[in-house]
Point group: C2
Chain length 248, copies 2
């Protein structure tokens, strides 16, 4: 089957089941060995990479569609997804799809809602579907060429993530269940793109009141054993819902 | 002309010129005499009030549509608008429009992007259009019943505004050109819904480096004359674009 035949088939399916003009793009971030990664895919017949995305079924909530799309790509459910912006410029895909026949679903104008997700890098197996040939983690500091306005979308996702880090707890899907303060700080530093002061960071994190000290029996060493923490799930979820404590 | 005939006419127009399934709702906030107001309208034949909104033309950018809708309601251009969330639940308008004929444009499912705006209460004249019978400022603490999911949208707009106040400067459209620190603090307190510490507030505001001290020759009084400030427009606009300085 040629690439275009595959997209033709996908087009017919979408016409039957999806809302026209409405799409979703997902920036899926993972944390691995002190670097921040994003999940990208390459569709058949395209040179450039893109963010995983999809459409919204006629009787499906927008957020539910985002969860379905993420699950299809990563196998992961129970992942925290956050809407961050809508991309509604005209001509978003014109250049990229110029050679495609007009009747294809994919050629219409789409208003795309961007979602970002933070996932556990180690438990995710990127899924290649029928219309893509690669789906891989790429380092945020070493990205390939991105299609359409996906560079903007990704940049906007990172900006939103950096802002929201002041209000929303992060780490639950990104760190092991028990972690040390330096591990948590490293994650924050990667997202914020800067070094943080150790004492201030600890004070701030404890102030959020979402950490529990773990009782891990230390192995006997000559060094002081590290202190392990985990998240208090109830407080963490409350903070996701209502925001972390802020001072003004 | 009956109310339904009016909506029928609006429906025909929209089918010709707008993208199906895509809509916009605006939460327009104004500041007046120490209270925060929101612009609401009442459509003909409806009991409940709603946020001003509209549709997106086939060849129009989403943000441009939001500016057009805001301008039509308020006469105001050059207003800072901020996207804050997409409302994509199924059945958002089902209950409210249950008695309307199926073929009407307004009956379809809409994925609505929410924008909020901060405007100068004193210079805005709310505009009543053909399909609405009232358009008025309502106090945020004394709201009438709202239609559809507009209560959620408004609540979500306020939440976003409260979050963004940490990153985005506010005041330029809400305060007189020259203002005092207590005036600015009052505005922040209204939006945040709490009293702020005077010294901390001043320190924080000065830290943002967007204020200019005004040289206003004081009238001779027995009191210490108030200090007036204005915004440094270039720095203010940069802060809108890149965010206010944050410490972590």
């Amino acid at each position: 089957m040629s690439h275009l035949d595959l997209f033709e088939r996908a087009s017919e399916l979408a016409y039957r089941s999806c809302l026209p003009h409405v799409s979703i793009d997902c920036a899926v971030f993972g944390f691995h060995e002190s670097s921040l990664k994003v999940l990208l895919l390459k569709m058949k017949g395209f040179d450039k990479w893109g963010l995983p995305g999809g459409y919204v079924k006629k009787d499906e909530n927008l957020d539910a569609a985002a969860y379905r799309i993420l699950k299809a790509r990563t196998g992961a459910s129970n992942i925290y997804l956050e809407q961050f912006r809508v991309f509604g410029q005209t001509g978003r895909s014109e250049h990229e799809l110029a050679h495609w026949p007009e009747h294809l679903w994919q050629k219409q104008r789409f208003i795309s809602t961007g979602y970002y997700a933070l996932v556990d890098y180690t438990t995710i197996i990127p899924v290649v579907d029928r219309i893509s040939e690669q789906c891989e983690w790429k380092d945020i500091d070493d990205l390939p060429d991105l299609m359409m306005d996906h560079q903007d979308i990704l940049h906007s996702a990172l900006t939103a993530l950096r802002r929201n880090i002041h209000y929303s707890p992060i780490g639950l899907n990104l760190l092991p269940k028990a972690f040390t303060m330096p591990q948590l700080q490293k994650l924050y530093e990667l997202i914020l793109g800067k070094k943080l002061h150790r004492g201030n960071f600890q004070r701030k994190m404890h102030g959020f009141d979402i950490l529990v000290k773990e009782d891990i029996v230390p192995v006997k060493t000559s060094h002081r054993p590290p202190i392990y923490y985990s998240f208090d799930i109830e407080k963490y979820n409350n903070a996701l819902k209502y925001g972390l404590r802020q001072e003004w």
